[in-house]
Symmetry: C2
Subunit: 338 residues, 2 copies
């Protein structure tokens, strides 16, 4: 595996994060004061322009190249009946992504973004984490490294998402281990499981928390024991984006839970990310609040596959277009203030 | 004036609204059940597709032609010091729209929408409505008719907005007269007025409500006495869109207040509209809640000029793209449910 020889190498990469550019933020704020609009009247669009500039380290943010990465993984715990859909659907949906028939294909087109789908050893699910860690360390590091290496050169904005039948259970287990609480607090309906399935899902989370209690306090071990390959890859891609100066749009509950261990290791580790959407999945609000992530959208979506991240891209394009394209009061000969 | 010979003719047009197509909604819901995603997992995007189909009267909604209309007007009450900017800015911003330098120009480009700006007799402000009705009936009907006639042929979605120094005061006065409450309840900071200006603004609203108390209970008379030409034109365009089968995106506080008289005349008169954004302007939440409008976005914007309506267009494009472009479970050979 190219990026991380062992957990300590990964830990070091997580603990040595570059800061964004305060000078770029200052430049954005100075220009905003001159544009033909009442001060602050573009609201969050102005903050979005400043955020892009900060993490792109450019006084004028740009979105020439937007990339969407969707990581796919399979989960040993699906044999315990935690999903409304069979695990065969993960590979079938990857084929659907390739054929252009999924929601993310349509949304990537509207976002004018390049979609890449990265299946992670789908034929061999992770281990059932009620019995063993989801992944041995080498496998975890490989998945993190795959995500790390997947961030394209020249990327101005990275949208992250996932596909994996069973992965809202993994995400809930990771969130519970990081933040506290049990299956009842964190389990949601996922793709639409029934009441009996919800009970199974809660029990699986509780059993997993008990089995891996020794991981508590070590976010990377939690990601390894209770996560999944696609969650590990999202962690790796989020980390790479920080080191490469690429702002990130996080998608939904699974994506947020996948990146959360970074924030639990280093405060501010997710400052280069924005949350695209507040998922209908039960635990997402708790997790987003804890991480200080304020979603751009609240549309009751719960699809994953980077759908909400792609949906939010035009909002960022709008922020950049206003910031870079508007005339100043002087240029337009508009009177400033009475 | 072409459309409305007198107030009674306008009243008749307001009271004879076509319903949307329930058959189109049924067709959308049936197709949504077959698409490769868990049922309901695209959340509000699914409702948006159904809403477009209903008011376009088409089983497959489309957004081939999106039009943005920005109406501009000047207000007699600006002489009372209710705005942070001088009234000269209205015409200057219209020139800025023509030159492509305003926020709406950039946002229209991102929305792939055609922008039309319609100035309404800017050189002659409406009357100071603390002393007289803002407009005589003939002038009001002319502005409504201009808006009515401005809806382009072939339009699939109409974004409405305004420009008019002083018009948050007019909007607040209209909202207060329609819903109750005084200047303290309805006045907001507008373009950024200071505390002394806020007191003047509240007093202007209270004086106007007292002078035109006889209009209470007649939404059209309220729009005439307390509104403005650009608000009247928005009312006309919203009414025309309903008669022509065109869904509407309302922008912010002024735009919502302009359309509100329709809803107060006929329940459901704004069912063919969606609210793009919850404005930072104080009264907007009260007004939106009263009208049952749930905003798509909450970005703290307060610019007007159809900026938030344009910003929301790609969200509707995403809804249409998913609905029309996704594969079905059968087409993609994806297993449905366990």
């Amino acid at each position: 595996m190219s990026q991380f020889a062992d957990l300590n190498a990964l830990r070091t990469a997580c603990l040595t994060l570059p800061a964004g550019s305060d000078a770029a933020v200052t430049a954005v704020r100075e220009r905003q004061r001159t544009l033909t609009k009442p001060a602050g009247s573009l609201g969050r669009l102005e903050d979005m322009a400043a955020w892009l500039a900060k993490w792109q380290n450019r006084p004028m943010p740009r979105l020439d190249q937007v990339d969407i990465l969707v990581f796919a993984g399979n989960h040993g715990i699906t044999r315990l009946g935690v999903s409304a859909f069979p695990p065969s659907v993960t590979a079938q949906m990857v084929a659907n992504f390739s054929a252009g028939g999924a929601a993310i294909n349509q949304l990537a087109r509207i976002a004018d973004a390049k979609l890449s789908v990265i299946p992670l050893n789908l034929q061999t699910p992770t281990q059932d984490f009620t019995e063993a860690p989801a992944m041995p360390a080498a496998e975890f590091l490989q998945a993190v490294g795959t995500g790390y290496d997947a961030v394209p050169t020249g990327c101005d904005l990275l949208c992250l998402g996932e596909m994996g039948i069973g992965n809202t259970t993994a995400a809930a287990a990771v969130a519970a281990a990081l933040l506290g609480g049990d299956g009842t607090r964190w389990a949601g309906r996922g793709t639409g499981i029934d009441d009996a399935g919800m009970i199974r899902k809660r029990n699986v989370i509780d059993a997993a928390l008990q089995r891996h209690a020794a991981c508590r306090g070590d976010p990377l071990l939690i990601a390894m024991a209770l996560g999944g390959r696609e969650l590990a890859a999202i962690l790796g891609a989020t980390l790479a984006a920080r080191h490469l100066g690429v702002p990130v749009l996080l998608d939904g509950f699974v994506c947020t839970a996948a990146a959360a261990p970074l924030a639990k290791m280093v405060p501010g580790a997710l400052d280069h990310t924005m949350l695209a959407h507040l998922s209908a999945e039960a635990g997402h609000r708790i997790l987003a609040d804890d991480l200080g992530l304020v979603p751009l959208l609240d549309f009751g979506m719960r699809l994953g596959e980077a759908s909400a991240a792609a949906l939010a891209v035009p909002l960022l394009r709008a922020a950049v277009a206003c910031h870079t394209g508007m005339a100043t009061f002087a240029e337009a000969a508009v009177d400033d203030r009475a």
